[in-house]
Point group: C2
Chain length 255, copies 2
């Protein structure tokens, strides 16, 4: 699992609220998962890793899986108890698989992320708490938290790896922190109404000229073509290209 | 990285639309990533894995990383070209990191998932297309797709592993397919208005009796207590418990 490079990323500014969110891993068994969790956090801009009684840490396997997120491992806080790990938090969210009686109010991962970011934005300190790989969190640990969060998984196969679960939660936190910011597309100048209508008129003349469009029996051809081009929202330059093509066919000289 | 068990999962019924979504991995270098991607897919209920010219497949490393998702590997379709992998699709979405000129319309991962599920619900066939670990997809491959999707990552560290990227996309697809279904909390019977008001009256009598609440100078104490208990929305049994506690203090006998 080493050697994979950076892919699929679009980076933005760092939302300040993420600095108030810590990830707490309780009694993690496999040090590789600690490294994987650190990497997952760092890709999403989370930086504070807290380890409660990890079985092995520091460990070369953790470093191997962190690939570039070793700074998070180096700065990781190791605690003997969950109480110490949650010190100073105003909102702790336990990630759990099992439904339990008398658990804190349950929310899905997205709602948990929105809650976490809202709390951090109000200057609160937030923890996402993950249990041990095989058995999760103990009941008394869950009851130290104000919410439990569940990640939706398949009924047939719910074997979400610890690092993968951290990845999903960290991703949700980042998306919540970024807010509804639409991606900027590398959009070229949009064509104006007049330019688009000029193109349709040109196209219609061409089709009548070629005999493909019979004005006596138009069969809604132009409507269909309008629908097609409207869907893609033409750019200025595309209109020029299309009119150039039409002119090359009809010898009109691009009027 | 082997041996981690199932955690953090809440399983639901399988949304049928997910069966029409395939994951296409193009020229994957590390077979471990193919296994990790298969596992990530299966946790979220995606089942159709298509591999375009993988460097090594099948491979023991792929199987080791799949941990329980070996059926997806066994049924994986191996193609020589992206065209073959996209055969039959009506919507192909390229996961890319770099912004490129003249790329298809760019959307974020969430919007891509919503688009994919809507297309699948309308009986379309959808592909999420992931490039090679180091360099992603070639331009001509991206231009075979109708959308590009970006996963938001940190500006400082965008090294999202291939399997982690598949995990995020598959998770988003599952959440989109499940729709806005609020989690059912193990809620006990809610207390009625009369029960809650009976409790407040009892509490107030107790506080006046103990001298903590001075009716001549109430300092908004009851308002504050109402606010506290209203926030948590009391259950029937909790009202009983609280009134029992009050009675034990004031010797009232729980009227």
């Amino acid at each position: 699992m080493t050697g994979e490079g950076a892919i699929l990323a679009v980076s933005g500014g760092e939302p300040a609220d993420l600095a108030r969110i810590r990830v707490v891993l309780v009694r993690t068994t496999h040090p590789g998962n600690i490294g994987g969790a650190a990497r997952a956090m760092k890709t999403m801009g989370l930086a504070r890793l807290v380890l409660v009684s990890p079985r092995r840490f520091p460990d070369p396997q953790a470093e191997a899986m962190a690939t570039g997120a070793d700074d998070l491992l180096a700065r990781a806080q190791v605690c003997a108890t969950l109480d110490a790990a949650l010190a100073g938090t105003t909102l702790a969210i336990a990630l759990t698989a099992r439904r339990r009686e008398l658990s804190p109010h349950a929310v899905d991962a997205r709602a948990a992320a929105e809650l976490a970011v809202a709390e951090a934005a109000a200057a609160g300190e937030v923890a996402f708490v993950f249990g041990t790989e095989m058995s999760g969190l103990a009941n008394d640990e869950v009851l130290k938290c104000q919410r439990v969060a569940h990640i939706a998984t398949s009924a047939d196969y719910s074997s979400l790896n610890l690092a993968a679960a951290v990845q999903v939660m960290a991703y949700e936190a980042r998306v919540a922190a970024l807010g509804p910011a639409p991606l900027v597309n590398d959009r070229f100048d949009a064509a104006s109404f007049e330019e688009v209508e000029g193109f349709y008129a040109h196209l219609e003349r061409n089709l009548v000229g070629s005999g493909f469009l019979d004005p006596a029996s138009p069969r809604r051809l132009m409507e269909r073509l309008r629908r097609l081009f409207a869907r893609g929202r033409l750019e200025k330059e595309e209109v020029s290209i299309l009119r150039g093509i039409l002119s090359s066919w009809d010898g009109e000289g691009g009027r």
